[in-house]
């Protein structure tokens, strides 16, 4: 891609932070976690029977929170992948890391599928989302680990003059 269309290098770190924050927000919102946040913030504010009151607009706020988190992940991904690297070496490391991560994603997906299939305790049609989620997580963990291993460790092995 023409480097003119790419964002400055600084967007990469903020993109990564946005992805993590967005995923965290999504995890909280999808588990109705705002109620738990409410419990932490106002532990004594319960109804007469001891339960926690749902504010009238709770579901609306939760939905807005969820959509904002998804948008944050999307924009973060855009920032992360559409920003310039520092130099040609970083481009090579990034490409290699993506290739490595795709292979790892496939491996993790196959292993997860085999786990569900051979354990015999799961209906396979219900495991599709779990397999996808785990392999997606495998991609990101492999990509980030490989990238930082190549940049921070392998390129710092010998610093003598």
């Amino acid at each position: 891609m023409n480097k003119l269309f790419l964002l400055p290098t600084g967007f990469k770190a903020s993109g990564l932070a946005m992805i993590f924050l967005g995923l965290l927000g999504l995890a909280v919102a999808s588990q109705e976690g705002l109620i738990n946040v409410y419990r932490i913030l106002a532990p004594g504010n319960t109804t007469a029977d001891g339960s926690y009151p749902y504010p009238a607009n709770f579901w609306q706020i939760n939905a807005i929170f969820e959509y904002t988190s998804i948008a944050l992940v999307a924009v973060g991904l855009l920032f992360f992948f559409m920003s310039r690297e520092r130099d040609e070496f970083y481009y090579k490391v990034r490409l290699e890391s993506i290739q490595f991560a795709i292979l790892m994603q496939l491996c993790v997906g196959v292993v997860t599928y085999c786990f569900f299939y051979f354990s015999g305790n799961y209906q396979m049609e219900n495991t599709f989302t779990a397999i996808l989620s785990v392999s997606f997580a495998g991609f990101w963990i492999a990509y980030i680990s490989r990238y930082y291993y190549m940049i921070r460790l392998r390129s710092n092995e010998d610093l003598t003059l």
Partner: protein, 66 residues
């Protein structure tokens, strides 16, 4: 491809970071080139040769497997 980057750098008494700054790349890139983990582009190779004031083929030489 092997190179004499480290030797040339020692002659000029400059660090990896200083050399990296001169040619406009990261120190990690210089480190990887020196340890033959990364083959630089033609542009970067020429820039490096210009810093040491030598022809490119004097710094970078092909190996039999290349």
């Amino acid at each position: 491809m092997k190179n004499t980057l480290r030797v040339e750098r020692a002659i000029l008494r400059i660090t990896q970071a200083e050399l990296a700054e001169k040619v406009g790349v990261s120190r990690q890139a210089i480190n990887s080139i020196e340890t033959s983990k990364y083959v630089p582009s033609t542009i970067l190779a020429i820039k490096l040769a210009q810093v040491f004031n030598k022809p490119v083929e004097e710094i970078f030489t092909l190996e039999p497997q290349d």
